[in-house]
């Protein structure tokens, strides 16, 4: 019943997934179809349809509690760490349903890296932090690990800052550096997609800028999905933006379209700061 009611409601407002495109549409990496999610009896995500394309930065914005973090955590099934979570619908990653019983979460998470809200390096050396992913996937060769560590740190634009102290504890770095270490750590597993859950909310403005620049560089090689409650950030760095409200996707379109000419009144209200 709930599903039916919501369905009619969402269909009326969500712009069609194949929104007007100015260039040839890139292949879809993550295709979310009629996703519903409940925490116990709380219906947190309602009939989400969201095609996310390759080599783009997709920003997810919305007020607190709108389900944006829940959604991004569903993409690598991290949300299942919470007890009492139920889902329906499907999320196709490269054509395969991630909720399929035969799809192991470990395999999915090897392809999909994640950067968290609070920098969460391991209490280990910088080197061991970056080498963690490759090591759990069975790489033991010291020379290969060295190369992965350097390449990942360069990729996260922090190599020059830490190359002389790879053996110091990652906790000795500043918050902004720790977050880039975490990004480097995610790069080290050579993912296809990088999920970022408010990666700059705990950082100062300068570190935020560095991470934003980094995101721009990374999209050349990765598909990036970033949750942010900083609308300027979404406008600055993303190609597409999805606006979430009360667990529904209100609008999903090109970022400049969303910010300059939103189709839905609620999107406009949120973006112009009238609520949220």
């Amino acid at each position: 019943m709930v599903q039916l009611m919501n369905r009619t409601e969402t269909e009326a407002v969500v712009s069609p997934p194949e929104a007007p495109v100015r260039e040839a549409a890139k292949p879809v990496v993550y295709d979310t179809k009629q996703l519903n999610l409940w925490y116990g009896s709380h219906h947190a995500l309602k009939n989400i349809d969201l095609p996310i394309r390759e080599n783009e930065v997709t920003a997810i914005i919305g007020p607190s509690g709108c389900g944006k973090s829940t959604y991004i955590k569903t993409l690598n099934r991290m949300v299942e760490l919470v007890d009492g979570v139920r889902t329906s619908g499907e999320i196709l990653y490269r054509g395969r349903n991630i909720f399929d019983a035969k799809y192991s979460v470990e395999e999915l998470r090897t392809r999909v890296g994640m950067v968290f809200q609070k920098p969460n390096p391991f209490p280990k050396s910088i080197y061991d932090n970056i080498a963690y992913g490759p090591r759990i996937h069975g790489i033991k060769n010291k020379k290969i690990l060295d190369e992965i560590v350097e390449q990942s740190l360069r990729g996260a634009a922090i190599w020059d800052e830490v190359k002389d102290r790879l053996n110091t504890n990652a906790y000795s770095l500043s918050g902004g550096q720790q977050q880039r270490i975490c990004i480097a750590r995610a790069l080290a597993i050579e993912p296809d997609v990088i999920l970022m859950d408010e990666p700059t909310s705990a950082l100062d403005p300068i570190s935020t800028l560095k991470v934003e620049e980094l995101v721009q560089e990374l999209k050349e090689n990765y598909s990036i999905i970033i949750v942010t409650h900083n609308m300027q950030q979404a406008a600055r760095i993303s190609d597409k933006t999805a606006f979430f409200l009360n667990g529904e996707v209100i609008e999903f379109d090109h970022t400049d379209k969303i910010f300059q000419n939103p189709a839905d009144q609620r999107t406009e209200d949120y973006i112009s700061g009238r609520f949220g």
Binding site: L81, F116, N169
Partner: protein, 303 residues
């Protein structure tokens, strides 16, 4: 503008500075009274401990000699030694430490990392804490029924070791659970986020952070097992033994048993021998506890 005057837009004042000053002295006196009260409570505990130490050291030091460690038990106080008991206690530890730590840490890992949060597991968690409060004599009876009789292990090191392991298991489980719980969830998530399995996350992220707390708790629990007497009495561990055990199926005696035996003998000299035994036992415990402190200091909290 006087402060006391009611200003439009300024909130009304409820605290009168004069009466606050007036009551200040009384509040300070009450504070001083309670401080002295608590200091005296501490003093009583310290005093009792001091008297105990003084009595034991003054009585026992005279009997502490190289022979005391080399001799077996004897009817003559001067010839009585602690060799069998000391070696027996070491044997006991050799069984208790691996058995209790393996079971205890394993249970804690299961409950904290693998078990779902449901009512049955909550019940298990709660009962483990309750088990820690069960008297040791009860565990002795359990050991007598299961290990000594049902499994026919007799009053061997193995039977006593298993019983002692059960006795300290709840303490180890609770300590290990707390240490594991203190590891922040976000580093676990970081590990899972890279495709690590639960086991890889436990071995590489959770345990390295939790091991100091786990070891500290385990060693403190083990030192309780060293000093425990009641279960050994119930199991029927003998006191006077004139040989050293050669394996875990041999019978043995332990430090607290030996001390208990000496202390209940009528001759005054044996009271002093008992004191010497207590000194050895206390040194044993102090040694174990200082290892726990060392471990705690060496791996300081890194979060």
């Amino acid at each position: 503008m006087r402060i006391t005057e009611q200003q439009p837009g300024v909130s009304k004042r409820y605290i009168d500075p004069d009466s606050v000053t007036k009551r200040m002295d009384g509040r300070k006196v009450i504070n001083t009274v309670f401080r002295s009260l608590f200091f005296m409570a501490t003093l009583v505990a310290l005093l009792v401990l001091g008297i105990l130490f003084y009595r034991i050291l003054s009585q026992g030091l005279g009997f502490l000699s190289a022979e005391f460690f080399q001799n077996f038990a004897s009817r003559i106080p001067e010839k009585a030694g602690i060799k069998a008991a000391l070696v027996g206690s070491l044997w006991l530890m050799a069984v208790v430490a691996p058995v209790s730590m393996f079971l205890g840490i394993g249970t804690a890992i299961y409950l904290e990392e693998y078990a779902k949060k449901n009512r049955i597991n909550d019940l298990i968690r709660m009962n483990i804490s309750n088990l820690a409060g069960v008297p040791s004599v009860v565990f002795g009876l359990l050991g007598l029924t299961i290990f000594v009789r049902a499994l026919a292990l007799g009053n061997s090191i193995l039977a006593a070791g298993f019983t002692m392991s059960l006795l300290i298991l709840p303490v180890i489980i609770v300590a290990a659970q707390e240490a594991i719980r203190a590891v922040p969830q976000d580093v676990r998530e970081a590990s899972y986020g890279m495709g690590a399995t639960k086991w890889q996350t436990i071995v590489r992220v959770v345990l390295p952070s939790a091991i100091p707390g786990i070891l500290t708790g385990s060693i403190l629990a083990l030192s309780r097992a060293v000093g425990e007497t009641a279960p050994l009495i119930v199991i029927g561990v003998p006191v006077i033994i004139h040989f050293l055990p050669t394996g875990v199926t041999d019978t043995f005696t332990a430090l607290p048993m030996q001390i208990y035996d000496w202390a209940k003998r009528p001759q005054a000299d044996f009271q002093q021998v008992a004191s010497a035994g207590i000194i050895v036992l206390m040194a044993f415990l102090l040694f174990m506890n200082s290892i726990a402190v060392l471990i705690r200091n060496k791996f300081q909290k890194r979060y």
